[in-house]
Amino acid sequence: MIRVENLVKKYGNTVASNRLNCRFEQGKVTVILGGSGSGKSTLLRQITGLERPDSGAVYFDGMDLALATQKKLYEKRRKMGMLFQGSALFNYLNIFENIAFPLREHTKIAESVIKTIVTMKLEMVGLRGTEKLMPSQLSGGMMKRVGLARAIVMDPKIIFYDEPTSGLDPISTGVIGKLIMDLNSKLNITSVVVSHDIESCFKIADKIIILFYGDIIAEGSVDEIRNSEDLRVKQFINGEPEGPIPFNRTDKNYLDELLMEQE
């Protein structure tokens, strides 16, 4: 469904994507894992066309999004849904209007049908009855579920999830995980999940990609990742403070820096 080839993206001297090559298969749940600053959000922004790579290609349904015109990109976007980290609901619209928004913008469906569709989507995320509320009246977990209802309202072929479980309590995390799997199995929707929540990702993933400072250091099924011999992968999935992945961001020698202050 999506094929990434030699993707390069730099911000100043920081390499966020270092010649990445990967695939996101039709009907599968692919999870991109990585710590903060590993370039996973940058990768997501590039495969959705929100950001253009410095070089390389992102093929979506056979079209290179990196070179696409705005019109072509928007055509492909009709097949995409995205759940943002902060839900990105429109704060000036109520829940019903938020979910109905893409339908009203892109289709000429009658209001009565829009009402039916919105009710169905709200039922899928278990939030029927909240139509009249404003986003600010909902909890974080409920906002994510509304965000998900909005993401699927146009019946996309692929859904991108940016940190779908971050900041949620364990039950909401479980609900979101189940929703992702349901959408995937019942509607055969392709899912791309960006996360650092290892436990919940292992439950839902068909394939895992682990990023480390702009490089893919591991790629495979949950079992393959679990049994990986790579020390960096081991440290990451076990959350160990000591290991090949440094906790400190600076290369400067600690003693040198302390002594320099004295001078």
Binding site: Y74, A88, N91, E105
Partner: protein
């Protein structure tokens, strides 16, 4: 740390010029997109309601008291020369030429400009722009363009309201309170105010409407994606818009006279 003064000056100058260029491109893109289909009439009407009709009361009150003060001050100055009959033309000319467009624009800046910057800034920090992008909706065309056009449409109308109410305020104080002759008040006004005065006032208010929507939107759009960023953007929007209104007012006046 070593301070290289010329480099510092150069860097800050460059970044300012760059921001100026960015804001120009921003305006050009938003303006062009406003005239490309699909036209968003409902969005435009909502923005006119927000910038225009919701500013009506504050503009009307400002206009009334400005006119009343002008009536009071004008009367006391003009009676010294026995020329209180000229009060009507004095009030009308100062309101139509200067005070109407400028004060109206400053009031709208305080009310709507700050709200525009805050609203756009909040949309930015909560990822609503990429959300629109992902729904295949152009954020600039959807959010910014209607605001720019609404600003250009609203300000001349609000200024007209300000002018009329201001003149009536001067009438209330001058004629009804201080006893200037009613016929003199209006006839001197009609003979003194020329088409150029009205045309100049409209031209000013059109430019101020553009300035308010443009600068406030740009400040919100360029806000740092943090809560401090949004509050700074809101403050900057009001300060910069107010200053540019006064500067542009001087330039336009010097060209019109």
């Amino acid at each position: 740390m070593n301070f290289d003064i010329p480099a510092l000056i150069g860097r800050s100058t460059l970044s300012r010029i760059q921001a100026l260029g960015q804001s120009g491109i921003f305006l050009a893109i938003a303006f062009i997109k406003a005239f490309l289909p699909p036209f968003r009439i409902i969005r435009l009407i909502k923005e006119i309601e927000f910038i225009g009709s919701k500013s009506f009361l504050i503009v009307a009150v400002t206009g009334l008291f400005t006119g009343m003060v002008l009536g009071l001050q004008g009367y006391h100055t003009l009676t010294q020369f026995g020329a209180e009959a000229l009060l009507g033309s004095a009030v009308a000319l100062s309101i139509i030429r200067e005070l109407g467009p400028v004060l109206c624009a400053l009031m709208v800046t305080g009310r709507a400009g700050s709200a525009i910057a805050a609203q756009i800034g909040i949309m930015k920090i909560t990822d609503q722009f990429p959300a629109l992008e992902m729904m295949a909706i152009d954020p600039v065309k959807y959010v910014i363009s209607p605001k720019i056009i609404a600003g250009i449409i609203s300000l001349p109308l609000l200024t007209a309201v300000f002018d009329v109410i201001g003149i009536m305020g001067g009438y209330l104080v001058g004629v009804k309170l201080l006893g200037v002759n009613e016929g003199a008040y209006f006839s001197k006004m009609v003979s003194a105010v020329t088409f150029t005065d009205i045309y100049g006032g409209i031209l000013k208010s059109l430019s101020f409407g553009l300035l308010i929507a443009w600068i406030s939107s740009f400040m919100g759009f360029m806000a740092e994606p943090t809560t401090e960023g949004v509050s700074t953007a809101t403050t900057n929007a009001v300060v910069l818009t107010s200053l540019s209104i006064l500067i542009v007012d001087y330039i336009l006046t010097s060209l019109l006279l």
